[in-house]
Amino acid sequence: MDLLAAIFVDPFLRMGTNPTFLIQVIWEGFVSGVLYALVALGFVLIFKASGVFNFAQGIMVVFAALALVGLHEQGIPAWPALLAAVGIMLVLAIGIERVVLRPLVNQPDIILLMATIGLTRFLVGLGEMVFGGEPKVMITEALGIPTGIWRIPLFGKNLVLKEIDMTAAAVAIAMVAFLAVFFARTKIGRALRAVADDHQAALSVGISLNRIWVIVWFAAGIVALVTGIMWGARSQVSFDLEVIALKALPVLILGGFTSVPGAIVGGLTIGIGEKIGEIYWGRLLGGGIESWLAYLIALAFLLFRPQGLFGEKIIERV
């Protein structure tokens, strides 16, 4: 009886008696959801265009952020350092295309997935060697990102909103909107979708696979850089981010692996769901359920709708 009350009654009571806190929790979930969506976006870009699941997206986020901070530490001012970091991501994209993707062009997906797992390991080692393993502070002020705090009185309590969070949300939404339009309307976007569908057919209509892949990995690199800046500004830049990026997987499952709007919907669902679950129900289980709740949500989803909210139903032909 107590347990039932604890599950079905108490949490809602707590929500009702402190609505400001509830909104705060939803806001926190919203922001982390937006960041999950950004990471997921990087995956979606590459998967949509090459059918490859880029396990290394997480480490690319860390790598990009570290590159930016590292360059700044060497004395380069913020905005040129940013441009240089973009350049580094371009070089990385070209390198990956030549060394990893081109030789594996016709292999089954599982091989490519494992290759990106290997790439992750390589970049972790390289990143640690070049930039050092200790966590670093993101150059937030130098980039001109607002760092103030807004306190909004609501229902008798204060709602605390950080400007950095609001910036992150705005940037992410802008990126998603831009990419959605890009894929649907532009020539390159169409080419990317063609490549995702059928490599050989795309080749036969004259689309240069190699160039497309460099473009896509570069775009994913830019998304990774933006993600790294935002994540790093909110906490710090460290290799832990790489594992947090694995959270993008439940997001992708909910939103579908090929849908840009799906990444946002999935990200928000997971972000908010996770936070609410942890704050209001987490204490029943001793706390810390954030580490796996997202996966459980995704798993439940998969059992009922294996292709996710936005994915395409796969009909197997024999």
């Binding site: 290997g118 390589f122 080692g125 060697m129 439940p250 499952i253 996966y295």
Partner: protein, 358 residues
Amino acid sequence: MFYREVGQFKSTYAADMAVFPIRQDRIGIAAMLAFAVIGIPLIANDFVLTSIMIPGLIFTLAAIGLNILTGYAGQISLGTGAFMGVGAYAAFKMASAFPQVNVLVWILASGAFSAAVGVVFGLPSLRIKGLYLAVTTLAAQFFLDWCFVRIGWLTDYSSSGAIEAARRSFLGVAITGPEASPLARYFAVLGLVVFLTFVASNLVHGRIGRTWMMVRDMDIAAELMGVRLLPAKLLAFAVSSYFAGVAGAMMVFFWLGAAEPSAFGISLSFQVLFMVIIGGLGSMIGSYFGAAFIWALPVVIKFAPNLVGVEIQSATVEHVNSMIVGALIIFFLIVEPHGLARLWAVTKQKLRVWPFPW
């Protein structure tokens, strides 16, 4: 010239279907076993035993487990570390609750708990495939991680949150705990790993292994041959998790002596996955190669520069190790997706016709 099969005609199907049909292979395996049982104890010092042989063998067992699930049955799993943890905690609980029963029994039994957990997390494979299934195994990994930390009962409510191996003996000789000698532990590990390799090899070379490979290569066709997919996949999860569980138990009892929950985290899962990829998916001997390679690599990186007179820091060793492993995975996937095992088979092929080029 040395490796020719000339004159080795097979007159029965049994001979043709043997696991090692070529006589030289049989001699080789016998020689290796003899070396492991007699040679190593004679020449190896404690360091080699505790830091190379024992963990190498334990990882081989875990790699065999993952190979069964991912290499033979084609179900990718990122949860090996957690399944190893289940075995470790199960063995710990049983050994502390029933100290009078031989610890070897508990170690072998601990795999059953892992197998049960593996089956539960394998149930989604009925409807989910490939990458999505990998996410399910991630769910298992993170959920079990949380369990290891939060469920105090698992560690007998120890204040450190870690589990320790107490002194246990076999035939009067201490094999676990602080008093157990490296040699005793080595023999225990060797015996268990050889026995379980025998079982795994039998499974994989017979009907069950073939069924798994059918499911891996084209599950639709397998189904139309009468294979019931869910039981076949669940069996793969069960057997694979069993091996991982026993390896995890051995990790605590024979190698580390104690373990915290973080020992069974996702980095362990990746480490075993790398062993399986580099060693060769779908190959028993590949598991040995892969485990040996990944385990020995940091040691080589640490000591090789010394041989040429170059100093290398231990932190750098780790970074270079990561880079080499990552690069090698990509290299192998491009050049020889079947890993070291295939390279070995190709070498044997060349040996067959040596000194001729083909």
